[in-house]
Symmetry: C2
Subunit: 302 residues, 2 copies
């Protein structure tokens, strides 16, 4: 089944302890869509400015991502500059220029309004809600991401959103902030009570804990020899999950577990280079191979 | 098969964000032995002072831990006072009084010198080495723990020790410090090169990564509703691992994975209360039940 993603498209400048890269392709919807495109047909709704480089557009098109919902607005593309700490987990945002993303009003094209799988990437909860109202029928499965800013400044809208989605993807510190629970299991359960049957708590290099009516489970990150740039890891994680689920068309205990494992795998490739550089060199066969390695790595014989 | 443990026996005062407990039973060898006693016969070599409460001795004896190697020296028992930060991961040591442990010269009784499984709990590496020389024959399987202090001040002895053991149990920050590697996979491989075929890297609430000739694997911590006191979690983790391995008498891919899962389970019980309070209320049946839950929680269908 097809998968629709609404979110940001950006041009990033990223500094890590090892290197610095300027004006590279980024944004939650970009990372998400690219990762998901290994598994299913992806439709992208987002906005860029007139300065958006044609080669970046071509890169997305090369994965057969449907760009008919990609708006080109007068002005400049969203820009973000960030710097990672020595530990590669924490980062500081040095600059944000929302540019055309600041007054983005997502419009879901009619051809996308019946799509069965929908991902609302991190943005103002009111905007995520507004996308939902544009769907002709309630999609089969809706997931959303959010961030600390909205937990702190738009909690009411976020609570409303949670009442309307099937799965929430959230990182560990945000889950703690939202629920005031230190432990992730009760945090996940508290978030479930707000609506989503499945809460996927991202723990960065430590993997993820999934609290779900389909059974709770835990998955590690695929261990890497070197992390070059973790930017986009969380978005590609979500892209792998939703892409795989959409490809099967079914969400149950088994597909959800496999989906999260695929998410973990594509996220690991993302960390191995800047932007989409490593994923661009990665085939579906390689992803499947690492998926099998991950399964072997977590298997405990009874 | 039997399992011998040499290490510290202490009386702790622990403060967490929620509560404070004074003069409770602690020490690496105590936590280790208690956890291991669910799986096999445990022999303990350690030292206490004349002030060691008889009820603490009785508690260890109640698990049929062989205390014939427990020396009672003139003076006071080792005492430690620590305070956990709000995040329950970091802690400050407020007071340490080595007391009789400061001039402890471990003597392995003749009856223990042929034991097949040996655990050298964290202490000066020279002392760990000295225990090894007391064994009549090289045990079938030797594991050791260590800490940042010895990595920084006794690296040469520690390197020698690593050349003589089968498994190293070490936490993530110590593995990074020892090897100067940020990522745990290359850190584990670098430690393997120093000798041990298996390196078990503890990640606290995130579980463990095992780098081993028997195949690398990853295991999460059993998620808890509430962590009351993590003191001793790492030692009981090691106790569960070594206890299970000794009970099977065999170290291979399958037993090692099950052992680490059992370690994760007993460590989770340790965190649910102060000292050994939760484990004291826990039966082997309950441990087996949580072991099955952990297996279910990590299982990804192919």
């Amino acid at each position: 089944m097809s998968l629709l993603c609404v979110g940001s498209i950006g041009i990033d400048t990223v500094e890590t302890p090892a290197a610095r890269r300027e004006s590279i392709l980024g944004g939650s919807a970009v990372y998400f869509s690219y990762a998901a495109s290994y598994f299913t047909n992806v439709q992208l709704v987002g906005v860029v400015g007139k300065d958006f480089p044609p080669e970046y557009r071509a890169l997305l098109a090369s994965r057969e991502i449907d760009l008919s919902g990609l708006e080109v607005a007068d002005g400049k593309t969203f820009r973000w500059t960030g710097k990672y700490h020595e530990n590669m987990n924490d980062r500081d945002t040095l600059e944000v220029h929302l540019n055309v993303f600041g007054h983005f009003n997502p419009k879901v094209p009619p051809a996308f309004q019946n799509t069965d799988f929908l991902f609302l990437a991190n943005t103002v909860p009111a905007q995520q809600l507004q996308v939902l109202t544009q769907m002709k029928k309630r999609p089969k499965f809706v997931a959303a991401d959010t961030m600390n800013l909205w937990i702190e400044t738009a909690r009411e809208d976020l609570d409303t959103l949670l009442g309307k989605i099937d799965a929430l993807v959230i990182n560990d510190s945000e889950a703690r902030l939202y629920t005031d629970q230190r432990e992730l299991l009760p945090a996940g359960k508290a978030l479930q009570k707000k609506g989503p049957k499945t809460v996927i708590i991202k723990k960065g290099e430590h993997g993820a804990l999934v609290v779900s009516n389909e059974g709770n489970f835990s998955i590690p990150a695929h261990p890497l020899e070197q992390v070059v740039d973790p930017t986009g890891a969380g978005d590609t994680f979500a892209g792998g999950i939703m892409g795989y689920l959409a490809s099967t068309g079914t969400v149950n205990r088994d597909t959800l577990r496999r989906a999260v494992a695929y998410g973990s795998v594509v996220a690991s490739y993302t960390c191995q280079d800047f932007s989409l550089d490593c994923l661009q060199r990665t085939s579906r066969q390689q992803i499947d191979q690492r998926f099998r390695e991950l399964l072997e790595m977590v298997h405990i014989p009874a």
